[in-house]
Symmetry: none
Subunit: 212 residues, 4 copies
Amino acid sequence: MVAESSALTRDAERTRAEILAVATREFADKGYDGARVDEIAAKTSTTKRMLYYYFGNKEKLYIAVLEQAYAGIRALEQTLDVEHLDPAEAMRKLAELTFDHHEAHPDFIRLVTIENIHRAEHIARSAALSGLANPALEVLTRILARGRADGRFRAGIDPLDVHMMISAFCVFRTANRHTWHAIFQRDMLDPKRRKHYRTMLGDLVLEYVTAR
Amino acid sequence: MVAESSALTRDAERTRAEILAVATREFADKGYDGARVDEIAAKTSTTKRMLYYYFGNKEKLYIAVLEQAYAGIRALEQTLDVEHLDPAEAMRKLAELTFDHHEAHPDFIRLVTIENIHRAEHIARSAALSGLANPALEVLTRILARGRADGRFRAGIDPLDVHMMISAFCVFRTANRHTWHAIFQRDMLDPKRRKHYRTMLGDLVLEYVTAR
Amino acid sequence: MVAESSALTRDAERTRAEILAVATREFADKGYDGARVDEIAAKTSTTKRMLYYYFGNKEKLYIAVLEQAYAGIRALEQTLDVEHLDPAEAMRKLAELTFDHHEAHPDFIRLVTIENIHRAEHIARSAALSGLANPALEVLTRILARGRADGRFRAGIDPLDVHMMISAFCVFRTANRHTWHAIFQRDMLDPKRRKHYRTMLGDLVLEYVTAR
Amino acid sequence: MVAESSALTRDAERTRAEILAVATREFADKGYDGARVDEIAAKTSTTKRMLYYYFGNKEKLYIAVLEQAYAGIRALEQTLDVEHLDPAEAMRKLAELTFDHHEAHPDFIRLVTIENIHRAEHIARSAALSGLANPALEVLTRILARGRADGRFRAGIDPLDVHMMISAFCVFRTANRHTWHAIFQRDMLDPKRRKHYRTMLGDLVLEYVTAR
DNA sequence: TATGAATGAGCTTTCATTCAT
DNA sequence: AATGAATGAAAGCTCATTCAT
């Protein structure tokens, strides 16, 4: 009984998870308005009805997608381990790992971009999303403190400014890839340029925080 | 007859321009899929039928919006005048003016963001948009050359990398404003922080191009 | 041009009127929730889309039906002509004509019944319906005044009470016909009983208003 | 075992009764088509599945509601005790008690009204409902006989006509309350008018049955 | 050049019901 | 006796577009 019951439960969770995975792809691919409930359902092994059964409506499904996407990124950021490095090395490493994360999760960047087009109204509606802790920022804050303590970094640096600078660089490369390519005929995600951009970001960050 | 005809023509142009202006606002506001042909028409002094008469369909209207938006920004960039300054001053000035342009045209940034969500497929379909000259980049290229010539700037700097860095910073501040605020409770467009960010951008750029 | 334009106009009105007629039948037949937009459309010579084009949504269509139904009844009541009769004859005549009106318009009674099940919320939402003049009540008021003036009728009779009594009798006969028949095996609308009920109503009314 | 079984049975009956009570409220409130199986279940302490387990489907549940509602009213009518009064007093008393019953059970009147909108098709489908004895009518029949015997009442009065007249008056006051209020701004159920209407009904009935 | 009326296709959502245990 | 998960069918509604003049 228990086994069967948990089998049922597991199936329900599996169904839910499958819908969420497909929806993530669709919303990231087409945007909130462009995504079709019918198409999400069709790419699922269940029916459209199940989607409403589990998530209520299109918007709630989208919010669930956002929540899971942010949770995934936060979990990834939890694994950042640069405390054993000296501040400068740690700072470069953090920038590079952030760079890697962004490159590895273009769908997440698309979802964030889409959510910005909607003025973050769905995040505002989600208890799970507003005011979420940010591991990367916390790590960064500690590195800056260490660098300031040993005199290598400047005083008065706002961790959030550094985080913004890193994010801007990483996000732009992915988020604006297509217009950039259309206009400058350069693919910012070309693997051949990857190392160059990664180093460039580290350089920028270190130049910004280093004391002169 | 001629007078009346040209009057008609002028009216026609006025109607066209009005539709384009309204459509720009709507597409920037709601995205391509979120914008409604009915609503664009309703906010116009003409009818929906005219919209089809002048632009053919929703997509062509959207492309016309994009074309006009890019043309406007290019025209603005044409007015950049920093050739009389020394390279470092010119570089900072260029960064700051670009910063100002972005801040002054949030709708343009939204349109570009939206177009990226659509993988720039509409730009690709527009002869007027693919391979457009980029005044800002040309100015930047000349400044780098002057700076390199007098030994103040490093060798081997790719103008497009500098342009990307500036764009990333400026675009991110506007494009990701809403999620940033939802998560960090900080408004990147807060007028009180404007000067700080503007200076920060100039610093970053100069540090990057300056020879050590 | 004018002729053609008015032909168009007339067609539009004809379409609107047809939808309204079919909708009246369906709503009266099945109730608000039981009626189906698809079915109303199917019984029309146009499509479902037109129904939304002209009326906006199901509820607005239903309100339009109610408005037209009440307007029709009011128009009918306008034709009441009993002023030339002496008060007692006029009173009986009014009761009988009201009786006839109700019998002739069972759909109207059904619509009113349905609207009462919905607590008259749609009437409340209609500017055209709240606070509508009531010809029958006005006629009744004048008859009572005449009868009181010549001493035949009692003093202190509230016209609205008499109207209520008449309405209750006439409405009940139609509105509760089916449960009455199921329980008492008597059809209150049986033509053979028609004259009996009609006279009974006149008697009741006259007994109520006559001075003793 | 037996104890548990009967406990279970008692629980089962309690569950059944609870569902029925909730369903009565929902059907009376929203009508047959407007009521939602999901909502009835949600307002219950059990699940939707139980509702199907006990009643089969929505229609059978609705019929069970009707049956219980009529049974309750019949039981109430069984308590009518006017045989000890003289015919005229008994007649007025019967009218007044009927008036009170209707006022005390608006949900029953709503259910009857709803059932009439459905042309009593569900009553027809219920063995328990078609051809049910009617205590009030039986009492009324006996009063009329007594009144006729002592010469106070007219000959040839059909008991069912008197019952209809009483019912019409009482039902209308509740059933048509909302449209009446919307159109005449008068609440027929206003407690301040209660006594007036109650007396008016008694007067009407007595005037109708009394010999001249 | 201009336009009010019309529309097919497809959208999101809801409903009563049943399956599998 | 009891139940959580699942569902087919159909509901109300919206969309970009075109017809007819």
